[in-house]
Symmetry: C2
Subunit: 503 residues, 2 copies
C-alpha cells in the first residue's frame, strides 16, 4: 500500500484531478519541497493512528502535551511536530470519507502558507490592500456564477458556514426592521423562520444566538429524498401567520449534510415571492456544483435568492477555512453591521475608505481566507474546479453502482445520488435472514458504530455514520477529495465487509 501512495505522489496524474494543471513532479517540487514532504508523511501513513484521549494525555511514547515553564530545545520542537501529525487524522488521505471537507490541494496549502507569512487582517485596505481587492474580485465572480447581475451583490468571507448562515438571518431581520439594531428584539413582533427537517442545525443555533429563540424556527417536512416539500412550506407559513407570528425568512438547502439533497429552489422562490419572505440558500455543501456545467442545473432558482452561503472549503477542496455569505442587495450588510467606530475606521485616510470592510463584518479582526481560493482559481481556472467536482460526483455514482449490485449492502434510498453523498447500511450475515421490524432495526442500529470503532482502531479508512429521523444508524460516504480513485471505493466496501463479517 505504501508503494501505491508513493506512486500517487510521484505521479501527479493520481494525486489530484487537477493533474492537467501541474504537468510534472518537478514542477510540484518547485512550489515547495516541504509541501510534498508533508504530503508524503500524510499519505504513506494510515488514515489515522487512533488513541483514546486518556492515552494521548498520559504522554504516549514521550509525546507530552504539557506546556513548559522554560523553553524546549529545537530538536524537541521538531519531534513535537512529527508527533502531532502522527497522532492526528490524515484528512488529505484518499481513503478519508468522513467529512464534507477533505483532500489536500498543494496550491491551496501553498496559499495558506503565504497567508500565514503575510500575517495580516482583513479589516482595512491599509493593512490588506491586496487581499481586500482579491475578496472583491472573488465575491463578484461568485455572485455572477450564482446568476446575479452586475449591479447586484455584496458579501463577505467569514469563519464557516454557520456564521455565514447567521449573517443571512441577521441581515434579513434588519431588512424587516432596521430599528432592531438599536432597540433589540423588542422592536419586533414575534418572528418565524422556516427551514427543512434535513437542513443544517445552524439555522436553529443562529436563531438562539440572535435572540429569536430556537422555537421561532419552523421545521418543514421533506420528501423521502430529503428535499423540502413546497406545499408543506406554504402551509407552515400560513400556520405561523395564524398564530400571530411574522414570517420573514426561509432557508432552502442546496446539498443537505446527510443525503446531499437539493431543495426545489424555484418553487421555494415562488412561495417567498408570494409571501414577501427573505429567501436564503444554504449552499455551503452544494455551492461547488455551480462550477460544473454538468451539475449546476441542480441549483436552478438560486439566482432568485436574497442571500447564499457557499463554502469553497467543502466541494472545492480549499483548505479550511473558506466560507462566504453572499447578499444580493448591495449596502445592506454594511448598514446592518456598521457602528462607525472612528477610532478604528478613520474617514480621513489618504485612500478611498469604501475599501475598508471592517464595518461590514461582525468580526473586528478577520482572518485572510481569500488568498488560497484566489490562488487555486488561478492555478485551475473555473473549468478546473468544474472537472474536480465532476470527478467527485463520478466517484459517488461508482459507489452507488457497487452498492446496488452487492446484497451485503442496502441503500437508504433507491435514487441515484444528486450530490456526492451516498447513504447505505451494511447488513451483516447474522441479520440477513431477519424480517424488517423493530428487532432488526435495533440490531442494525449497532452495526455502523461497531464497524466504525474497528475501522478507527485499524486506521485503514474512515467513513461517517448517523441515525436520521426514523432511520437507524447508516453509513454516509462523501467525496470531496479528487485524489480518491475507484480502487479506494472498492477498498472501503471490502473493509466494511471484513470488519463486519462476525456481527
Amino acid at each position: 500500500m505504501c508503494k501505491q501512495y508513493l506512486h500517487r505522489l510521484d505521479c501527479t496524474k493520481c494525486l489530484h484531478s487537477v493533474r492537467i494543471r501541474y504537468n510534472s513532479c518537478s514542477e510540484l517540487e518547485r512550489i515547495s519541497l516541504s509541501a510534498v514532504d508533508a504530503l508524503k508523511i500524510l499519505c504513506l501513513s494510515k488514515v489515522l493512528d487512533f488513541h483514546h484521549p486518556h492515552q494521548l494525555k498520559d504522554g504516549l511514547e514521550g509525546f507530552s502535551l504539557d506546556l513548559p515553564e522554560h523553553a524546549e530545545t529545537l530538536e524537541q520542537i521538531l519531534v513535537d511536530c512529527r508527533d502531532t501529525l502522527k497522532y492526528g487524522v490524515s484528512t488529505g488521505h484518499p481513503r478519508f470519507f468522513n467529512q464534507l471537507s477533505s483532500g489536500l490541494d498543494v496550491i491551496g496549502v501553498a496559499g495558506e502558507w503565504l497567508t500565514s507569512t503575510a500575517n495580516t487582517n482583513m479589516f482595512t485596505y491599509e493593512v490588506s490592500p491586496v487581499f481586500i481587492l482579491m475578496e472583491e474580485v472573488l465575491l463578484k465572480k461568485m455572485q455572477s456564477i450564482v446568476g446575479w447581475s452586475e449591479d447586484e451583490g455584496d458579501g463577505i468571507f467569514c469563519p464557516g458556514g454557520t456564521i455565514s448562515n447567521l449573517y443571512s438571518i441577521l441581515v434579513a431581520r434588519y431588512r424587516v426592521c432596521p430599528e432592531v439594531k438599536t432597540k433589540g428584539m423588542g422592536a419586533l413582533p414575534p418572528l418565524a423562520l422556516f427551514t427543512s427537517e434535513h437542513s443544517h442545525y445552524s439555522v436553529k443555533k443562529s436563531a438562539a444566538v440572535l435572540g429569536l429563540g430556537s422555537e421561532s424556527v419552523m421545521v418543514v417536512t421533506c420528501d423521502e429524498r430529503g428535499k423540502m416539500i413546497p406545499a408543506e412550506l406554504e402551509s407552515s407559513i400560513l400556520a405561523a401567520k395564524s398564530k400571530g407570528l411574522l414570517p420573514f425568512y426561509v432557508n432552502a438547502t442546496a446539498g443537505t449534510t446527510v443525503y446531499g439533497a437539493f431543495d426545489p429552489l424555484a418553487a421555494i422562490a415562488d412561495i417567498c415571492h408570494t409571501h414577501r419572505l427573505w429567501m436564503h440558500v444554504d449552499a455551503a455543501w452544494g455551492g461547488g456544483l455551480l462550477m460544473s456545467d454538468r451539475h449546476r442545473r441542480k441549483l436552478q432558482g438560486i439566482e432568485r435568492a436574497c442571500s447564499v452561503t457557499w463554502n469553497p472549503h467543502k466541494m472545492m477542496c480549499v483548505p479550511l477555512q473558506c466560507s462566504v455569505i453572499l447578499v444580493k442587495k448591495p449596502g445592506l450588510l454594511q448598514e446592518c453591521n456598521k457602528l462607525g467606530a472612528e477610532y478604528l475606521f478613520q474617514t480621513d485616510k489618504p485612500y478611498d475608505v469604501n475599501y475598508d470592510t471592517g464595518d461590514k463584518s461582525i468580526q473586528c479582526g478577520r482572518h485572510v481566507d481569500v488568498f488560497k481560493l484566489w490562488l487555486m482559481w488561478k492555478a485551475k481556472g473555473s473549468d478546473g474546479f468544474g472537472s474536480q467536482v465532476n470527478k467527485c460526483l463520478e466517484n459517488a455514482e461508482y459507489l452507488y453502482d457497487q452498492l446496488k449490485r452487492n446484497s451485503d449492502f442496502q441503500l437508504v434510498f433507491k435514487h441515484k445520488p444528486e450530490h456526492s453523498n451516498v447513504c447505505f447500511w451494511y447488513i451483516p450475515p447474522s441479520l440477513r435472514a431477519l424480517q424488517p421490524g423493530p428487532d432488526r432495526d435495533r440490531r442494525l442500529h449497532e452495526v455502523a458504530p461497531q464497524i466504525k470503532g474497528r475501522m478507527m482502531e485499524k486506521g485503514s479508512v474512515l467513513i461517517g455514520y448517523q441515525p436520521f429521523g426514523d432511520k437507524v444508524n447508516f453509513f454516509r460516504c462523501v467525496f470531496s477529495n479528487p485524489a480518491t480513485q475507484p480502487e479506494d471505493i472498492d477498498f472501503l466496501l471490502n473493509e466494511i465487509i471484513t470488519l463486519g463479517a462476525d456481527l
Copy 2:
C-alpha cells in the same frame, strides 16, 4: 538599511526577543528554510509599497487580480505569489507600529504551516484528536494564569476578540434566563449592560447582533487615562434599574485599544458582586501581560471575572488568528450552545464523546487556532513569553521618554504608559506658536492624516492615528513585535519630523 535587516535575520539575537531559545542561525534554518526566505522578502523590503485601489485593480505591472476560465502556468502562479507579497503590508517588519497584532514569529508560522497541512476541523475528537487535547491543555493553563482554581474554568478558541466578547454576553444572558435559548428575547425584561467609553466597539456590536439592541449598552465615563470610573459604573447601574431595565453584565477592559488603559478590575468586581452582575474582562490586548511577573499586577482582580477574552495573536505575537473566551463556570458554554444534532455529534462513538467540542461552539466547523500557540509555548516556555512582553513594554517606555524630551511632540496624557500604547501629537513648526484653542485644534487635527499619507507613499514606517472623544487626531504607537529595537523608535520619530516639517 538592507544590511541592517539582513543582519537581524542572520543573527537571531536581533530577530526576536526569543533569541535565547533559538541558539544559532543554522537551527533556525532547520525549522524551515522557506520561513527564513519569507522573512527575508518581508524585511528587506519597505514596510509597504503603497498603491491606490484603482491602481492595483488596473493590473499594475502585469499583476492581474482577475480569475481565469482556464489554468495559469505554474510560473505565473509563482509570480502571483511574489506580487501578492510585494504589494502587501509587511506586518512582521520591525517598523510596523500600526496594529495591535504585528511581528512574525518563526515557530508560530511553522505551527500555522503544519496546521494548514493537517487541514482539519475542531468539532470532534474523531477528526482532531491531538488539537482537541491541545485546546484543553491551553485552556487549563490560561485559566490557571488568570487565577482560577482547578475545578473552575471552561472556554473555547474562536475567530477573534469580537466573537469572544459576543460569547461572553451570550453566556451571561443564558445564565440570567436559560429560556432565552428557545423562547428568544421575549422571555426577558429589557436588559442593560455596561462598558466604558474607551472599551472596544464589539460590546455594542454584539448587543446588536444578539438582539438586545445597541441602546441596551450603557457607556460608562472614564478618567483622563481611559480607565472606567467605578462610581460612574455604580450610578449607571442604578439609573438603568430606575428605568426598569435589568442590569446583567459589565465589561471591564484590560488594555484599551487606543490608550492601553486597564480598568480597575477589583473595584469593578466589588460592584458586580453587590449587584449580582456577570463580570467580563476584555483582555484581548492586555491579557498578554499576565505572562510577565513584572506587569501582571495591572490585571489584579481578573481572577474574579466570570469570563475573560484573551487574544494571544496580539501581545503574545501568535500568528493571526488566535483568540480565546474563558468562562469560569464549567458546563455553561455547552448548555448555552448545544443543540444535540445527533446526525453530527453521535453519542455512540467508540471514545469519550465529552471531547467533542462542536456543541459548545456557535460555529460548526472551527479552524484549528491552537497548534501555533501550543508550539510557541513549547519553544519559549511561559518565561519566554514573559520576556517578550517585557521587551515590548520597555520599547513603549523608551518612546515615552523620547517624547517627553522632545518639544516637537506632545503626549496625549502625561502618565507613563501602562501597556505598550503611547499616544502623542506631532506639533509642526507652523503650529508651535499658536495658543491652545479651536483654531490650533482644527489645524492639528489635519497633521496626523497628512503625515500618515506621506508615510504610506514612502513606505518607510507605519503608525496609526485617530481622534478620540474631544481630542483631535493623534498618533498611537503600539509595540507587540519583539524584533523592534530602540533604533526603530528613533527612526519613527525622525521620520515624522522629516515628513511633517513643512506642515
